[in-house]
């Protein structure tokens, strides 16, 4: 018999919302919401992320899985719930890039994994710096599809340093997957190949924040 994790992964990949909700509700009787998220949803999304990296899972499945999990998590752990994971202020944005699907996938994956974060969507440099300062952001996730947008992160980093406001930066998206040195070149602190990589990256970075 398939384990609940196997059932959940299979249901997510086939976009079977009914089974997703059934697996999560069957697990709900004996476990706390955050435990359920960490024992079922996070590993299922991680497996799906690895599948995408290896080429056995498609981006549409990654996106729809994140969306289904986000819906399920919002039902069992509302956004305002105090038991959501306690983390330094975090945000996600696309800097001067008009392609937002990658951002949306990472945002859904993190929310489905119990994290709270702000979503600035598409922004320009000035707006983003203002947001970061106003909200006291300590970890910033940036998604890019276009190479020029990825390269702009270097200028953002310099600008933030000049203004004395230096969040840790996690980057992801196609240019970083095609050039594995690019994240260092733009001055990022971490790079994620997949949306679920972002979970380990921000957990690691949160540990080194003063």
């Amino acid at each position: 018999m398939e384990s609940p994790l196997d059932q959940l992964e299979s249901a997510l990949l086939s976009l079977d919302r009914v089974t997703v909700n059934r697996v999560l509700s069957e697990a709900s009787a004996s476990t706390l919401p955050l435990t359920r998220i960490e024992s079922l949803i996070v590993p299922a999304l991680e497996r799906i992320g690895v599948g995408w990296e290896e080429g056995s899972v498609s981006l549409s499945q990654v996106y729809m899985s994140g969306r289904l999990c986000e819906e399920a998590v919002d039902a069992i752990l509302p956004p305002s719930d105090d038991t959501r994971k306690s983390m330094p202020p975090m945000a996600i944005a696309a800097l001067e890039d008009y392609h937002l699907l990658g951002l949306r996938i990472v945002y859904s994956t993190l929310r489905a994994s119990g994290f709270s974060l702000r979503n600035y969507g598409r922004t320009d440099m000035n707006q983003l710096v203002d947001h970061i300062k106003t909200d006291g952001i300590r970890i910033l996730l940036l998604s890019a599809l276009m190479l020029p947008a990825a390269l702009r992160i270097k200028a953002l980093r310099s600008r933030l340093q000049a203004e004395g406001c230096v969040p840790l930066i996690v980057v992801g998206g196609a240019p970083f997957r095609f050039d594995e040195e690019l994240w260092k070149e733009v001055g990022a602190d971490a790079f994620g190949n997949t949306a679920s990589d972002a979970i380990s990256a921000i957990s690691r970075l949160a540990g080194v924040l003063p």
Partner: protein
């Protein structure tokens, strides 16, 4: 060095017939770089098809590649449907605000007519200018976005995925409109002088959707569309993988397939051999900081994997060389093809 014995047209035609020409044909899709020839911004450059034609001509003279690009920017099709195009100084124009705010707009959508759409007429003028100058010596490639992939720019990617998964009737309605437009647009380019059409279909790649969904959607759409295009079509997945659907793609009526850097070029060539010409798969993002030695190694690797027997065009894996790639790297690639791509490939 031995003189090349074929024209670019002969070389491509021979390779695409799965035979070995005098050397491996290659194409460096330097779509924007001509702007530098005139000291213009990318936006100003693309406003002048006469300058783009001249730019293409100069770039071919410099690199010696085997085709001219009757193409400016992918977002021109979103522009034709009423979408916003956003220019930048250091990269291709992007599709901005989509013309459709949601799937409900599909019901009242009408496809643009090519003859009445200035941005498309600009591209047709470019093709005519290139064809007039190149004659039969160098082919001019046109380009269309597939009906199945265009909605990423018409609706935004997220809205499109939701339409695809949750609203089958509206999806079909949009596909019928897009198919009619795509056929008209491709045939207009062929009439203007394009020798072949690149069919950009990234959403069909297994990188984006699973094969099972492709067989019910992008595959059927490609078969219907390509059967109405009156010329040769080669399919590109814009860096997306293709191996899992290669046998299916071969049944759509296409003559070529773009290979991703994410897949082993030898495996793609083995699967395509004798059926589809493989185009690829240099990593143009990484190319930005290649040393001359690295550039030569990458060219040799690609030729060794896919060159034998013909049926191979060396190019990048996306269809566009980034603005940031140095000219010196492109010149090194071109030299390496001339050095290592001469048939017979007896150095392998």
């Amino acid at each position: 060095m031995k003189t090349e014995s074929m024209t670019s047209s002969e070389r491509l035609s021979t390779a695409m017939s799965h035979r070995e020409p005098d050397r491996v044909p290659f194409l460096l899709p330097t779509v924007m770089q001509g702007a530098r020839e005139f000291g213009l911004s990318i936006q100003d450059y693309f406003s002048r098809p006469d300058l783009v034609a001249e730019g293409q001509w100069r770039l071919r003279a410099r690199y010696g590649h085997d085709a001219l690009l009757g193409f400016m920017y992918g977002a021109v099709e979103a522009e034709a449907w009423g979408g916003e195009v956003i220019y930048r100084e250091d990269g291709p124009p992007n599709a901005g605000q989509p013309p459709l705010s949601g799937s409900a707009d599909i019901a009242r959508l009408e496809p643009p007519r090519v003859r009445d759409t200035p941005c498309l007429q600009k591209v047709l003028r470019l093709i005519r200018l290139l064809k007039d100058r190149a004659g039969n010596e160098v082919p001019v490639f046109g380009s269309v976005i597939s009906p199945f992939s265009l909605p990423v720019m018409q609706l935004g990617f997220e809205n499109y995925l939701l339409l695809l998964h949750e609203q089958p009737e509206r999806f079909e309605q949009l596909m019928r409109l897009n198919e009619a437009f795509c056929v008209e647009w491709a045939n207009a380019q062929l009439e203007a002088g394009a020798g072949a059409i690149a069919y950009a279909d990234p959403v069909s790649s297994p990188t984006i959707i699973p094969r099972a969904l492709y067989l019910k959607t992008g595959f059927l759409i490609a078969r219907r569309t390509l059967s109405k295009i009156k010329g040769a079509v080669a399919t590109s997945f814009a860096s997306g993988r293709c191996l899992a659907i290669l046998d299916d793609v071969a049944q759509t009526g296409t003559v070529g397939i773009g290979a991703s850097f994410l897949e082993d070029l030898a495996a793609v060539k083995a699967a395509a051999r004798g059926r589809l010409t493989v185009m690829g798969n240099l990593n143009a993002i990484e190319m930005r900081h290649w040393t001359p030695a690295e550039a030569e190694i990458r060219v040799k690797e690609a030729i060794a994997k896919a060159g034998p027997g013909g049926g191979f065009v060396l190019t990048d894996n996306h269809g566009e060389i980034p603005w940031q790639v140095p000219d010196s790297v492109l010149l090194t690639i071109a030299d390496a093809v001339r050095r290592w791509g001469r048939y017979p490939l007896d150095w392998i």
